[in-house]
């Protein structure tokens, strides 16, 4: 072991290390003998003082360090507690406040890496000691560094224009920030625009959403780009460059006033193409506006249907009809780039594909609907003007609502989608109210935690809805008795009475769960964040940083982070907006000084490093002593790949020098 005293470098004086072992209540102390770890630390090289304390991150804990810095003239500090990703900044700041450069600090992770994951106490002690020794060894070779400040671009980008994105955009625009709201579909509004009523208050979805949509349209601080997708993101917190693909609508957005004359005059006299907004239950023409309140109120042409594109010729009555000359068949896709300081992702969810559970008969039996289809049927603006009708035009006498389709199911999604119980109740209520049909709910558990939710369930019970507890086995048209003839039979085990039952109904509604978008993985990759295995974007911390992500400056709002109902989406959107505002208003970001640099005197100019750098931060420079590589520190993100590659050791990385890592290796292995 080479760890003799006085081995480390300092600015002038020998290292004097203080070690602080945190109990974290019983989180660490319950498994690790913190006192003995501190005792062990006292014998490590250059350690002057070592203590253990209940909560190092508390004010008294931090003061303990600061007092020691002053009293014992400490010039190095090690805290053994939680993950550095959690509290490194807390303790760095404590050091700085006591006059010590914050980078003379090192953390040993004895909670996430030791006490929480180790079974035996003595093993936990040993591992904690090894990690503390590593930190002590390393910290002796730390040097004073400065964080770099970079100005923050004041604009903000919101990706996804559902209720979450709308709310976040409006909040920030109202605070005076310029917001780019980018939506993939031709209109904003998202899923909420398709709903008729919202639970549990049954207020009209359109009545509360439409004003917000037009606010977005009219807000001087919002640039709304619908029918557009983000295709690339560069940069870092404070200075992102976002490239947006604007898909051609074949209609000049600025000219269109939404009068729909063009739709009227289209050579297709009858609407004959499936209307996506109505879940394909209604029809539309090749030129259309998704729904009357669409925002922006602009039509678009589907080139896969319009004769002008499919056949190459058409009387183009639409163009003729347009007084504003808004129709432009030659429109091309274009890429625009915006700069911004922060990004809010509110890309939402998709509903579970009910065809994945073939025994429920979706797409096999005409009268099996998804809940979203029923939303359109009950919606006054929907394809049936709000009348609940079967495909043959008759009104159902009995309706079965199957809960948990694609949720709480090991074969599809193990998680609970959180909103289905409540929207099923809402739909049950609406169906009963509008048709008087017998309504059967098939549920596993009723999950109604929320303000007024349980009361709504009570109301449904009183209204005479049937509730059968059990997971539906199958929906079939196989009649076993005359009463079942011509009906859909729901087979289920009623687990409250322990009997298999067959319930014949006219209409089956599958309460589909919420899933992440298919391209969630591409999106998270583009924005440099992570997502769970199911595709939900991962927040930085499940409790304490629920809207931040692993990438600074990228925030989450709404169901892209996990299933949520409208109030939760709006709340999170507000939180995300506040976080983004905090970043943008601060005006600058501080960057970790973990950049790499090349010592020109030692560089031989071999160019091994040049191809290493993903950011083209390394350039070859002609100097008096020949060609040398130099690193543009402003571009360096501090990965250290060039450092590992440099064959002659001429490159070093702040915070991760070879020396520091070699010491850490030695420390982690030399004692226990």
């Amino acid at each position: 072991m080479s760890g003799q005293n006085g081995n480390g470098k300092t600015n002038g004086s020998a290292p004097r290390v203080g070690v602080y072992v945190c109990h974290c209540g019983i989180n660490i102390a319950g498994k690790v003998d913190c006192e003995s770890v501190a005792e062990f630390a006292r014998n490590l090289p250059d350690v002057v003082v070592a203590r253990d304390y209940k909560f190092m991150c508390s004010d008294p804990g931090q003061e303990l360090i600061q007092d020691d810095i002053r009293e014992h003239k400490l010039n190095r500090v090690v805290v053994a507690s939680c993950s550095p990703l959690m509290h490194e900044n807390t303790f760095r700041k404590a050091c700085a406040d006591a006059g010590l450069n914050p980078f003379y600090f090192q953390m040993a992770n004895i909670r996430e890496h030791v006490s929480w994951v180790t079974k035996e106490k003595d093993e936990a002690d040993k591992k904690a000691k090894a990690l503390v020794a590593a930190a002590v060894h390393r910290v002796r070779f730390h040097s004073a560094l400065e964080k770099k400040r970079v100005d923050v671009h004041p604009d903000v980008v919101v990706v996804g224009g559902g209720i979450s994105g709308i709310h976040a955009a409006l909040t920030m625009a109202n605070a005076g920030k310029h917001v780019y709201l980018i939506e993939r579909e031709p209109t904003i509004g998202g899923h909420m625009a398709k709903f008729d009523k919202t639970f549990p208050t049954l207020d009209c979805s359109a009545c509360i959403l439409t004003p917000k949509m037009s606010d977005v349209k009219n807000h001087p601080n919002i640039t709304l780009w619908s029918y557009s997708e983000v295709v690339n993101v560069d940069g870092f917190a404070g200075n992102f460059k976002v490239q947006v693909k604007r898909k051609p609508r074949y209609v000049i957005e600025e000219n269109c006033i939404g009068c729909l004359q063009c739709v009227e005059e289209c050579v297709f006299k009858n609407a004959r193409f499936d209307d996506e907004f109505n879940e394909n239950l209604g029809k539309r023409k090749p030129i259309y506006m998704p729904f009357p309140q669409a925002t922006p109120p602009v039509v678009l042409i589907d080139p896969t249907q319009c004769l002008r594109f499919t056949k190459g010729k058409c009387a183009s009555k639409c163009a003729e009809a347009c007084e504003k000359n808004a129709i432009d068949f030659d429109q091309k896709e274009k890429i625009e780039e915006v700069e911004c300081g922060a990004i809010i992702l509110s890309t939402g969810f998709k509903t579970f594909d009910a065809e994945r559970i073939p025994q429920y008969g979706y797409k096999k039996y005409a009268n099996v609907y998804t809940s979203l289809e029923l939303e359109r049927l009950v919606n006054a603006a929907g394809p049936t003007s709000g009348e609940i009708k079967l495909r043959n035009g008759s009104t159902p006498q009995s309706v079965g609502i199957v809960h948990c389709v694609g949720s709480r199911d090991q074969k599809t999604n193990a998680y609970c989608s959180r909103v289905c119980c409540m929207y099923s109740l809402k739909l049950a209520h609406l169906v009963k109210e509008r048709t008087g049909a017998e309504v059967y709910n098939f549920y596993i558990d009723m999950r109604t935690p929320g303000k007024g939710y349980e009361e709504f369930y009570d109301r449904l019970l009183e209204e005479g809805n049937h509730f059968i507890r059990g997971r539906v086995a199958e929906v079939t048209d196989w009649a076993m008795s005359p009463e079942e003839q011509g009906k859909l039979v729901i087979r289920v085990e009623d687990t409250l009475i322990g009997v298999p039952r067959r319930i014949p109904v006219d209409m089956v509604v599958l309460s589909v769960g919420l899933e992440a978008h298919d391209d969630a993985d591409d999106v998270r990759r583009m924005f440099g964040i992570s997502c769970s295995k199911q595709g939900w974007f991962t927040e930085r911390h499940p409790k304490l940083a629920p809207v931040s992500t692993a990438t600074d400056g990228v925030f989450l709002a709404g169901a892209c982070q996990g299933p949520k109902d409208i109030p939760d989406c709006v709340a999170q959107a507000g939180a995300a907006a506040a976080e983004a505002l905090a970043l943008v208003d601060k005006g600058f970001v501080e960057l970790e000084p973990n950049t790499a640099s090349i010592n020109a005197d030692l560089c031989c100019g071999c160019r091994t490093c040049v191809s290493m750098c993903p950011y083209s931060a390394i350039k070859v420079d002609e100097t008096q002593d020949g060609e040398k590589s130099i690193i543009n520190e402003a571009l360096c993100k501090g990965c250290g790949t060039c450092v590992a590659a440099c064959p002659s050791g001429a490159i070093s990385q702040n915070l991760f020098t070879d020396e520091q890592i070699f010491e850490e290796i030695e420390g982690v292995l030399s004692y226990v």
Partner: protein, 168 residues
């Protein structure tokens, strides 16, 4: 799975892990947050990117007494720094060839792609590797080979065979 159980043989391997800050280190924090118990034999050293890992670090760890070295980085395509993990992969592959010829068993040096959400994978990989290295015993290199062996076309195979002979 070892689950942190000790074996009666008494040999407890020490494994040094180099985890990248963005994926695998975050994943190992998640393992902790999820309270997934695993073998205590692995000690993690954090680097910003698996691309920072210099083959010298791995040899230094073995020299200082590690019985195995685990490298954790982001999945291909997921690197926070675009392609650092590929650079780690190339260096790892070359170093591994060399170590293999020096008689260091394959199981002692492991590279795993572990995403930030894969806390359970950290547990699985650590337990698995601890078990494998425990079975191998303390790091012992193949006895110095005989010249005939090296003259043979397939040196590698013979070196490995030599190692087997020694350990039995």
């Amino acid at each position: 799975m070892s689950n942190g159980e000790k074996t009666p043989t008494g040999f407890e391997p020490r494994i040094v892990a180099f985890f990248c800050n963005w994926c695998t280190y975050t994943a190992s924090d998640l393992t902790g947050i999820s309270r997934l118990i695993y073998a205590p034999n692995v000690r993690v050293i954090r680097v910003m990117c698996s691309g920072r890992i210099d083959p010298q670090f791995i040899l230094a760890a073995l020299r200082e007494g590690a019985d195995g070295v685990l490298i954790g980085g982001c999945h291909p395509g997921d690197c926070h720094y675009q392609e650092g993990n590929y650079k780690a992969l190339r260096r790892f592959k070359l170093l591994k060839r060399f170590l293999n010829r020096m008689g260091v068993e394959d199981e002692r040096i492991r590279l795993e792609w572990i995403a930030a959400s894969e806390g359970d994978k950290v547990q699985k990989v650590v337990n698995e590797m601890t078990e494998q290295v425990r079975k191998l015993g303390p790091l012992h290199l193949a006895p110095i080979a005989t010249p005939e062996a090296f003259e043979h076309e397939d040196k590698q195979e013979l070196v490995a065979a030599g190692a087997e002979g020694e350990s039995s």
